[in-house]
């Protein structure tokens, strides 16, 4: 890999993501924010996805937890659903999004953001192998 430019260090990168999240993203169907406003290292985040049209997820609101460790964004955050969901890339017991089954985490690059993860998960919900799966009752949690 070649970098034409030295990369933005972790903390400043997360501050950028925080500010972007605070402004609001696109049509608002994905969003995220920091869990603990006192955590100077900005590790723990909550993401929200509104289920896409033309799928069983339509109109449902899903909450996720994203954890950005010290090695973010060299390494992806760990991602797990808090709201119960039935998707092929999500562990049925824990809600963890399994990196091996989810491209953006498996082939992570440091330019990717939490917004990208949430947007990809939303797309994944509408993919043929997910959009018709029977879902747990709304408002239940892992």
């Amino acid at each position: 890999m070649s970098f034409s430019f030295p990369s933005v260090p972790r903390n400043f990168r997360l501050l950028e993501e925080l500010e972007r999240g605070e402004k609001g993203i696109g049509d608002g169907t994905v969003s995220y924010g920091m869990d603990d406003g006192d955590d100077i290292y900005m590790r723990s985040w909550t993401g929200t996805i509104i289920g896409p049209h033309n799928s069983v997820h339509e109109g449902r609101i899903y909450q996720l937890k994203l954890f950005c460790d010290k090695d973010y964004p060299e390494k992806p955050p760990s991602v797990r659903f808090h709201s119960r969901v039935n998707m092929t890339c999500v562990n049925h017991e824990t809600g963890v999004v399994e990196p091996k089954k989810f491209g953006i985490l498996a082939n992570w690059q440091r330019e990717y953001t939490m917004e990208d993860i949430l947007t990809q998960l939303k797309k994944e919900m509408a993919a043929p192998h997910n959009r018709k799966l029977v879902q747990p009752p709304e408002g239940t949690y892992f």
Partner: protein
């Protein structure tokens, strides 16, 4: 390598920061990324931050010097113009930035901000309110936080 095409201006500034540091300020680039600096500022005397050692981080974005450096406190500090994440409300870091300014001037301005908190242009509403309604007590809290979080341990 990431640092191979570091602009001459940044190299010059860095050399001068290391060879002639401003009193009470130290800044050294990280080994992996020469645009990322570890910074220490000593709390100015006669200020509530006196005796404190404050850690900051500074990053020179790609557009520097056309864009301002990014700086924040890593040490917790009770100050109306600094928020819980250490972000600093200072005009030269935003709309008053000019490429004639340098890393040194930025750090000196931050040091000056510690001597002269400005509760009329706050970043932390609660702290600013505290400052305006009961300055003596707010200053006491700032001293207390300096002892608790900035004792240099």
């Amino acid at each position: 390598m990431a640092n191979s095409n570091l602009p001459r201006r940044i190299i010059k500034e860095t050399q001068r920061l290391l060879s002639e540091p401003a009193p009470g300020i130290s800044a050294s680039p990280s080994e992996e990324n020469m645009r990322y600096f570890n910074v220490m500022i000593l709390g100015p005397s006669q200020s509530p931050y006196e005796g404190g050692v404050f850690k900051l981080e500074l990053f020179l974005p790609e557009e520097y010097p056309m864009a301002a450096p990014k700086v924040r406190f890593l040490t917790k500090i009770y100050h109306p113009n600094i928020d819980k994440l250490g972000r600093i409300c200072l005009d030269i870091l935003k709309d008053k930035w000019s490429p004639a300014l340098q890393i040194r001037t930025v750090l000196l301005s931050i040091q000056a901000l510690l001597s002269a908190p400005n509760p009329d242009d706050p970043l932390s509403e609660n702290i600013a309110k505290h400052w305006k309604t009961n300055e003596t007590e707010a200053v006491e809290t700032a001293k207390e936080w300096t002892r608790l979080y900035a004792s240099g341990a």
